[in-house]
């Protein structure tokens, strides 16, 4: 599996009347071919902005001001609009949260499905149409030959999301960004869509960035997870480590605050007090400071870095509580490098 995407310490800012607002700060993660990463966090944590930054789909006043985004051998952070147009829908495609509003109401399903196919794959009109029907069948749309000439309003939310998936996967992208693809759907429909995404992922080996706030969806889908809070990644590791051995106080709080149907009857939810700080006045030190049960004096003034810790699997945390583990990792890492050097020399 080769490296597909490397997001390195990007910062996304929006220019407003009251000055620039930083919405994503020092976000890093990487992704191999065919791998699924979940960006998880609450609204305003910057998970959607991160994905829109990769695609250059931010509103006009927003832009990536620092850091780099490497996709295969291309630098996306500084790519021109013309170059991005060739990548969007072709190498990287995207599906969104609201299937009800993500399709154009005045164009037929076929119109919307074939325009990308014709643009990126140079198919003739007739070929694009039969390919589009094939795609609709692939995502489980019944009567695809008829549906292709319908307008979106004739379809249910679940069916529209299937159309969006067909549209996104039609040009065989290497990376699919799915921004809360099942949040607006009923749970039985969500189960259908997740099942479909798993099936298509296996068939096509597409890498996925799945954005969600639902830890259940994360557990179902992810290979690895980046937990985001207030515009930063606070914890990153593989999905098993995250659920078996969560470390960051925010991750811990999040896990204990979800009312899940498998919870024991009389378990009281652990709510995280307060609310997410606004992007306009981010705390100087740790951004979770005023909601954290373990907050220390230095958390107020100093900014913790996202650092790898010593664990069975790769595991990075942005928290001063784990400095010991971080040091252990550094030591081991240095020893390992040293040993490697000796072997090679």
């Amino acid at each position: 599996m080769g490296e597909l995407l490397k997001v390195d310490k990007i910062k996304t800012e929006f220019q407003t009347d009251k000055g620039p607002v930083t919405s994503v700060d020092e976000v890093s993660f990487d992704l191999k071919e065919g791998e699924t990463i979940c960006l998880v966090g609450e609204s305003g944590c910057g998970k959607s902005v991160t994905s829109l930054s990769i695609m250059h789909l931010l509103d006009r006043n927003g832009s990536v001001t620092e850091g780099s985004i490497r996709f295969e051998d291309k630098d996306l952070a500084h790519a021109s609009e013309a170059k991005m147009r060739k990548i969007r829908g072709n190498d990287i495609s995207m599906i969104f949260q609201e299937p009800m509003t993500s399709l154009n109401p005045v164009l037929t399903i076929g119109d919307q499905l074939t325009e990308g196919i014709r643009l990126h794959m140079n198919y003739s009109r007739a070929d694009a149409r039969s390919y589009a029907i094939e795609m609709l069948k692939k995502v489980g749309i019944p009567r695809a030959e008829g549906i292709i000439d319908e307008y979106p309003h004739k379809l249910s939310g679940g069916m529209r999301q299937r159309v969006m998936i067909a549209m996104a996967l039609s040009c065989k992208p290497k990376l699919l960004i799915a921004d809360e693809p099942t949040t607006a759907l009923d749970v039985t429909i969500q189960a259908q869509i997740l099942k479909l995404m798993k099936k298509l992922r296996e068939e096509s080996n597409t890498a996925i960035i799945l954005i969600t706030h639902d830890l259940g969806v994360v557990a179902e889908m992810a290979d690895k997870v980046a937990v985001m809070y207030a515009g930063q990644v606070v914890e990153e590791t593989d999905v098993y480590t995250l659920f078996d051995n969560p470390k960051h106080p925010y991750t811990l709080g999040l896990m204990k605050s979800i009312p899940h149907i498998t919870n024991p009857d009389d378990m009281r939810l652990n709510s995280i007090p307060g609310s997410v700080p606004s992007a306009r006045n981010m705390p100087k030190g740790c951004r979770f400071y005023d909601r954290c049960p373990h907050a220390m004096k230095r958390c107020l003034a100093e900014k913790p870095e996202l650092k790898p810790i010593e664990d069975k699997q790769a595991h990075s945390i942005r928290c001063f509580l784990y400095e010991e583990e971080e040091k252990n990792y550094e030591k081991k890492h240095a020893e390992k490098q040293h040993a490697e050097k000796e072997v090679s020399s």
Binding site: M55, R88, T101, S102, L103, N104, L119, H120, Y151, M167
Partner: protein, 316 residues
Amino acid sequence: MLQYIIRRILIAIPVLFGVTILNFFIINLAPGNPVDMMVNPSATPEQLAATKHALGLDQPIWVQYWNWIVQLLHGNLGFSYSTREPVTQILMAHVGPTVLLMGVSLIVGYLIAIPLGIICARKQNSWIDYLVTGFSFFGISVPHFFLGLGVIYVFASKLLWFPTGSMNTLGGDGSFIDTFNHLVLPVLVLATGIGGNMVRYVRSSMLDVLGKDYLRTAKAKGLSQFLITNKHALRNSLIPIITVIGIDIPLLIGGAIVTEQVFQWPGLGLLTIQSITSRDYSTLMAINLLAACTVLFANLLTDILYAVADPRIRYD
């Protein structure tokens, strides 16, 4: 859809009746009467009474209305009190010029306003946006008579580029070029108002659509900005514009009374003013009826256009 149209037409009939009744009585409430205007000022009261009797104007008003409506249902709009010509004939002579003037003005106004509105929305808060928006406010707020007199002064009296009024040169050949020359100034005045109004609607509607999720989807597909604006956004943004067009259509007939007066354009607007001053009830009634029909027709057309433009709307 057909059922819907039939229902709308059936509803329109009582509405039209209501309109004629209201008009008839309101016109008769106005002081003065046609006879005073048509007979010699030195006529004796007996002569006046005789003329009134001959025209049926001495009968109770509801009888007059009954007579009028019975004639109408026979397809007869009556005779003009002032010129003695059949009203149908008079209307026919005036409808053409008005439709020509207003049709050209609407088309010119829209052709300028719609692209400008799109540009303004695409480049919101740029200098071009400010310029166009400012100009549209001017177009909406400046009174037509004032603008009309202004352009006559500049382009007709001073620069002598265009004639000051009327539709054709007196004794001229009535050629297309001649009519065109006469059209320029009134169209300029009317299109300024129509276009100024339209720019604002197109701009705000387009701004609304540009923020929609499905445009982000279109962009995520890798489409060019041109396709996104003109294929995905334009059709959606035109849906609310249909309402504005629906409101504009009756202007085709109702015309621009003031503008026609200023430019002495021989259309329905001018005819309306003449009929009012001469208390020509039968002509006035006919003009009002025509206007009411046009409004109802325009409303129906608007609804049909909605269904054409927006597949979500189905009347059944």
